[in-house]
Amino acid sequence: MAEATLPAAAPKRAPIKHKRIGFWRSILRIFRELREAIVQALTSLVAHRLRAALTITGIAIGVGTVIAIYSAVAGLDDSFAKQLSMLGPNTLYVSKWSWGSNRENWWKLRNRPGVGRGDYRALLAGAKLPEAVAPIVGTQSTVGIGEHELQNIDIRGTTDAFLESGGFQVKHGRFLTSVDEEIGTDACIIGADLEDAFFKNAEPLGGRLKVGPMSRCTVVGTLVRKGNAFGQSQDKVLILPLSSFGRAFGAKRSMTIAAVAPIGRVRETEEELIQVLRTYRRILPDQDDNFTVNRQDKILQSFNQTTLALKVVAGLIGVITLLVGGIGIMNIMLVSVKERTREIGVRRALGARRSTILLQFLCEAVAVSCVGGMVGTALGIGVAWFLAQVTPMSAAVSPSVLLLGVGFSIGTGLLFGIWPAASAALLQPIEALRHE
C-alpha cells in the first residue's frame, strides 16, 4: 500500500529557535477560530435538529411572549398619545369628573352637581388668566343625507374658543364664530370620516346634513384627519354651536369647560379657575371642591402607572419563560459537552486553547438561543398583529422591541451557555482524550 514516494523534506529546523505565532497571525487567528466556531455551531445545530428544535421552541415562546406584550403595550401607548394630542398641553378641563379616577371615587363624584352654563359664565366673567374658555357638551347621534345615515357619531356643542384649546385643526372652510353661537345658526364642522362618507365626490362646504333631531345643518368647515386611538376613529365627529346643540339635544347636560392657560402659567391659571368656581358655587373654606380641574399630565400619570404595571408583568413573564428556556439551553449544552469530551481532548491536543473551546461552545449556545430569539420575535409580532386585527387594541412593533428580543435571546444563550462552555474549556486534555 504505502510506497516510498515521499518528497524528501530537508531537515531544516534549528532546535534552538522556537516557533511562534506572530502578533498579526494571533489576531487573525481569533477571527478564523470564531469563523470555525460558528460553522461548528451551525453544523451541530443541524446534526441535532430535534434536540435543538425543542430548546429553540422554549426560547421562542419566551421571546415571543415578551415581544407580543410589549407590542401591545406600545400600541396602547400610541393610542393614548394620539388621544392626548387632542388635549392641548396648556389646556385645563373643568369637569364634574376626575380623569383617571378609580371606582370608589366614581360613587363620590357621581353625586356632584354637573358643570353648567352658570359655571361657564362665571369663568368668562371672573377668570382673567385664561386666553380662551370653551364650553364643551357632547352626545352620540345619527347623521345623514336622505336615506344614507351613519349611527353613533360624536356630536359636540361648543363655541369658537374651542379651536384654541387644541386638538382639532380646520382643513377647509371655517370654524364656528361668535355669530353662530349668538344666533344659533345651523352651521356645522365635520370630521374626516364624515367627509369621506357623505362627500366622496362632492364639495362638502355648503352641504346639508340631518343631525339627530335637526333636519338641516350646513357644513361650513372640515377637520384634518386624526386617525385612530384605542381602535376607535377620532374622525367620526360633528361640531355644532353650543346654542344650537342645546336646542336639539337639550340644554341641561353636564359640560366640560376647556380653559387655555398662557404658556408657563398653567398652575396659576388652575388656582384661579378653582378660586372663581368656589366663589361662584359658594363653597365654604372647609369644604372640598365639588368639581375637578383636569390636566393632561395628570391623566398621563395615571395612564403611565397602569402601563408600567403591565410592563412589569410582561417583563416578569418574559424573564420566567426565558429562565425556563435558558435552563433548556444549559441542559443541551451540558449533554453536548459530555458527548464531545473526546473531541475536546483532540482539539486541545492539536493546539486549541481554553478560550478556543470556550468560544466554540458559547457560539453553539448562542446559535440555539439566537434562532430561538428570531423565531420568537416573528411569533411575537404575529401574535401582536393578530390581536390588533381581532381586538380594538392596536399594536406597535418598534425596532427597539426587535433589538430587545434578539438581544434578550443572545443574552440568555451567553448566560446559560457560559457554565457548560467553561466546564468544557477547563477539561484536562489527557482526561478528555481518555473519556469513553
Partner: protein
Amino acid sequence: MALIELQHITKTYDLGLSKVHALRDIDFNIEKGEFVAIVGQSGSGKSTLMNILGCLDVPTTGAYLLGGRDVSTLADDELADVRNLEIGFVFQSFQLLPRASALENVELPLIYRGVSPRERREKAKAALDRVQLGDRTHHKPTELSGGQRQRVAIARALVTDPSLLLADEPTGNLDSATGEDIIRLFLELHAAGNTIVLVTHEPKLAARCPRAVRVVDGLVVADGEGQRVAFENQRDIDAAAAAALAAQQQMASGLSQREPGTGAHHG
C-alpha cells in the same frame, strides 16, 4: 543541543488512598532527526511518558526541555501553542472527529495557528497525498478502513510540519499487515528528516528503529540500538505472548469467532 532533554522526570498519580508512581526517574535525550522506539510491558509508564513529551501533561518533578526551553514552566495557552507548533501526535485509537471528513480532520490543527481557509485546504490536501489518501479527502472516518484512518491521523500530525512526531502504539488497533504499512510510512518520514518517538508492544517493529528505549516500572532499563533493546528480554516476551495467545484461543473457541485473518483490515 538535543531536541529533547528529559531531566529526572517523575510522574505520580495521587489517587487519595494510594499513590501510583507511573514514572520514577526518566533521564535521557533525543537528538533532532532521531527515530526512537519506546518499549515496555503494559503499565510500565510508556503512555505517561508520551503524554509528557507531547505537552498534554506535565511531570510531577523534573524538567522537560524541548529545544532548550523548559516546557514544564509554561502556562496553559503557551503549552497549547507548543502542541500546535512543535508536536504532531498520533494515537492508538486514531482520535479523528467522527462528523468531519478526512480533509477537515487534517485541517484542524491549522485553524489553531490562524491559517487561512484556502491555505488550510491546500496544506491538508498535500498532507493526505503524502500518506497516499489523496483520493479519500471527502470520506468520513466511518467510511475508511482502520489503516486509512490511522494514515489520516498521521497526515493530521504532519500537516503542521512539527519538530517532533509522537505516536503511542499507532499499530495497536491494526492487523499486522496494515501495521507494517504504517511502520514503513514512519520509516519514510524519518528518512525525510522527521524526529519520531514511537511506542510499540511489538519487538519486531521496535527492532527496525535505529534506537529503542525500554521502560520498566517507570524507569529506563535499556537504551540503545533498536535491534538489541527490542529483543533483550525475548524469552519473557515469548512467554507472555504464548500465555496471551492461549487465553485468546480459549476465548475464540468458546465464542466460535471468525478466524484471525492476517490480511483483513480492522474496523
